[in-house]
């Protein structure tokens, strides 16, 4: 049946011209489409962009119903990387849970750890007893991770569009940051560095100089990267106006993070609900109001530059702290991780001073060490949820404790999982080739989606 544009219009009016005329009055898009579909008898092809695909940004399975080149339905099937991290944590102590939760979203491991540790610290009631040095180191590493996560998202974004140069440049920049991570934490990724109570180790000798060297080079490197990509006509053609998600849609879908800031709303948990001392750092919240893929890319690049500012401030603060014995782990002996590491002739191991202390000098310290390492500390019963602003959006860990030494339940509210629901909204109605930038602009990491 032909939808009528104005009341009183008849079929005769509609059929007056050659060919079929569709008057679209509003709120009747479904009827029009159904009509067209019945009439043209076109075939719809269901295409499976399977879990193994170079362009799906991870093990994501997309089931697309195509009509020609247009996507009429887009469904995402996830779960191909489900690891059972949350259930595994229930069988480990609170400190050991860090090593599991860090591998959820593997591009931003520090953020997973921070979300978990902040929630555990809230239950322990030690939020204001975390040493200042630990907080500064946490902010430093989190912001470096933000930069490396954005690069790890934009690099593969270029790769999926077919631009391998963007990929290689992103990877090259990431290498510098991974070097810093290795210097400070010992690992390039999946560091179990944040613990409930502080961080695992102090800044190593030469760490601050290495970060300063990086900060000297970084603006130039980022500028070169942006020169390559920002005004690139092919990149712009493939990303401008693609995957439009305006503020109303973002609110309906509960979207946070760069996608929300690209829709014009300057919402950043580091500013509105700060933790870890973020309120004392100076930085801006970049916002763009184009609501498209290109806007999200711009927001991410601006965030990289703001993160460099924060890193510089954190390094200055650490350099100002010259007092010896500046603790990086909470001083409460019943919670703070007792072990100290040092570099010996046979590699990194327990520091001889610490061994001498627990074996020779203090029975109490020995007991604490033993109990904390084997049993772990007890966390009071209750539940806590402390969200932080991760590179992908709002990341939080809902932690439930029954008063014991193991988490009763730890659920990671991952922004990638939440935003993947928007795939249908972003892709349907667009071309098949636009599905790729749409998904890449969400910047999902399937480890976080599936956990």
């Amino acid at each position: 049946m032909t939808p009528h544009a104005t009341p009183g219009a008849t079929d005769a009016d509609a059929d007056a011209t050659e060919g079929r005329v569709y008057n679209v009055a509003g709120q009747d898009w479904d009827e029009v489409i159904a009509d067209v579909r019945d009439l043209s008898g076109s075939e719809q092809v269901v295409v499976n962009m399977g879990p193994q695909h170079p362009s799906t940004h991870g093990v994501l399975r997309l089931i697309l119903t195509l009509e020609g080149e247009t996507v009429t339905e887009a469904r995402a099937s996830i779960g191909y990387l489900h690891t059972g991290i949350e259930k595994n944590i229930e069988y480990r102590t609170w400190t050991q849970g860090t090593t599991f939760i860090t591998r959820a979203d593997y591009l931003m491991p520090f953020f997973n750890e921070a979300a978990y540790c902040l929630s555990a610290e809230r239950l322990l009631g030690i939020e204001d007893k975390i040493p200042e040095r630990a907080q500064i180191m946490r902010v430093l590493l989190l912001e470096l991770n933000r930069i490396s996560s954005h690069l790890g998202g934009i690099g593969p974004f270029g790769f999926e569009l077919g631009a391998t140069t963007i990929f290689l440049q992103g990877v090259r920049l990431r290498e510098n940051i991974l070097d810093l991570f290795e210097l400070i934490t010992g690992l390039r990724m999946n560091h179990g560095f944040f613990r409930p109570g502080g961080v695992a180790q102090d800044m190593p000798a030469g760490g601050l100089e290495a970060i300063r060297d990086f900060l000297r080079e970084a603006p130039r490197l980022v500028h070169d990267f942006r020169t390559l990509v920002d005004a690139n006509p092919i990149f712009i053609a493939r990303t401008k106006g693609i995957a439009y998600l305006d503020l109303q849609a973002c609110m309906a879908l509960g979207v946070t993070g760069p996608m929300l800031r690209a829709a014009g709303l300057p919402w950043d948990l580091r500013k509105s609900q700060p933790c870890l001392g973020y309120e004392s750092y100076e930085f801006d919240v970049p916002t763009v109001d184009t609501c498209d893929t290109y806007g999200r890319y711009l927001v991410r690049m601006e965030e990289i530059e703001q993160s460099l500012r924060i890193v510089e401030q954190a390094v200055d603060r650490l350099a100002d702290r010259t007092a010896p014995n500046d603790p990086w782990m909470i001083q409460d002996k019943k919670i703070g991780w007792p072990a100290r590491l040092s570099l010996g002739p046979d590699g990194l191991g327990p520091s001889p001073e610490h061994i001498a202390h627990i074996m020779g000098q203090s029975m109490e310290a020995l007991i604490h060490h033993f109990k904390l390492v084997t049993e772990g500390f007890r966390v009071p019963a209750g539940q806590a949820y402390v969200p932080i602003e991760s590179p992908k959006g709002e990341l939080g860990c809902h932690v439930v404790s029954d008063g014991g030494t193991r988490p009763y339940r730890a659920h990671l509210r991952d922004p990638s999982f939440h935003h993947m629901q928007a795939i249908s909204v972003l892709c349907e109605g667009g071309l098949l080739a636009d599905v790729i930038p749409a998904i890449a602009s969400i910047d999902p990491v399937l480890g976080g989606v599936d956990r």
């Binding site: 595994n88 809230r122 806590a384 709002e394 030494t405 339940r409 659920h411 509210r413 999982f417 956990r451």
Partner: protein, 242 residues
Amino acid sequence: MSEPEGPPAEDNGGLPARLGEQRLTASVVQTGMFGAEGTGDTSGYGRLQVRKPPPLSSEPPYGGYFDAVAQALGNALEPAGLGFSDAIERVVVEYGEITFHVRRERLVEVADKLLHDPALRFEIFSGVSGVHYPDEAGRELRAVYHLLSITHNRRIRLEVGAPDADPHIPSLTGVYPASNWHERETWDFFGIVFDGHPALTRIEMPDDWRGHPQRKDYPLGGIPVEYRGTKVPPPDERRSYT
């Protein structure tokens, strides 16, 4: 403090011995300490009986913006003929966070008011997750909702309980479309059926998987690990003294 069920306190002036009896009627959740049993238990704690504490409940004033939220919610529910206590079983404020324990029949209305009422405006749905408490008869499965209000910069948590025998909770997809996948995940892992969900299917586990993995009665599923001639059992089968 909410009143736990028990024999009515006899009127003898509230002496301590009688007050303790109310606690004695609560069920036992743990006997002994350290996990050792039978003749292997030489700790002396073998006959210790730990009873379930009464469910937490906070009384107003809650502090901070929680009072404003509770007040606004009460005002919003009134025109619909629902009282605050009709919809909300109890309110718990601890660790600086507020949790509204909502009755499952009233969940959709409460969520609707939370989203649309101008004094509340909890636009962002953060997520649903489940928790399984096998020891709490009648409310084993819980669905925990986190909501964020950008307008007022507030956070609250809703908790809805359902028994194992009847694990149905109304779906919030009509109010918050963003709850779609979270409810699917909670169904997948806990078996909570969200009535009214457009497509409640498994999302993380394979489609033909049996069982709901994150329930406490589902095993971790690991295998013993062989290393240098001995075998280490998987984490859920190891001895534990805590």
